[in-house]
């Protein structure tokens, strides 16, 4: 890819920030949806039971830790691939 000059980098930066904000919201929504689906199943009342609330808190913790671990491994693997691509070539790029 061609190098970007400073003004192009600023424009790219601005777009990336909007995307990062959107990605954060998607992550948040994914956790809400997954933990709701996995923990909430009692609709005999409109308030959360203490059992549901316990499940929810553990679920959020676990999903956050899952996300951290996945992101770390992903970055490592991606860096590996990039390094290999420098020598050999990465299909799909």
């Amino acid at each position: 890819m061609e190098a970007l000059n400073p003004s192009e980098q600023r424009e790219l930066q601005a777009r990336m920030e909007r995307k990062t904000m959107k990605d954060f919201l998607t992550t948040y929504s994914n956790i809400v949806q997954r933990c709701f689906e996995d923990c909430i199943s009692d609709f005999s009342s409109k308030s959360l039971t203490s059992r549901e609330e316990g499940c929810l808190m553990r679920c959020v913790d676990k999903q956050l830790k899952t996300g951290e671990r996945l992101a770390q491994r992903f970055q490592e693997e991606n860096a590996n691939q990039m390094a290999k691509a420098g020598q050999g070539g990465f299909p799909g790029r």
């Binding site: 948040y28 709701f36 609709f43 409109k46 808190m57 913790d61 956050l64």
Partner: protein
Amino acid sequence: MSFLFGSGRPQPTSAEKIAAAEQEYEMIAELYNRLSSTCSKKCVPAEYREPDLNKGESVCLDRCVAKFFDVQIKVGEKIQQDAASKMGGGGF
């Protein structure tokens, strides 16, 4: 989040203000879409013997909406707390 920038910050441009309003709309639309697909799966079974919502399904939907908002808020609070304790506390 204007406290992050202090009072010396220039006025937001038109494009920035429109983008902020749009993002507000998108957050609410996203919440609605997630809630909608989740609650309709939880409360409306896949057999369609009748075209109307029966009493049980209707009440289930109402409670599901209330619970989804509750969950959304609780999860938001928890994520903020965790982020705050990480920044401030230095672990352990």
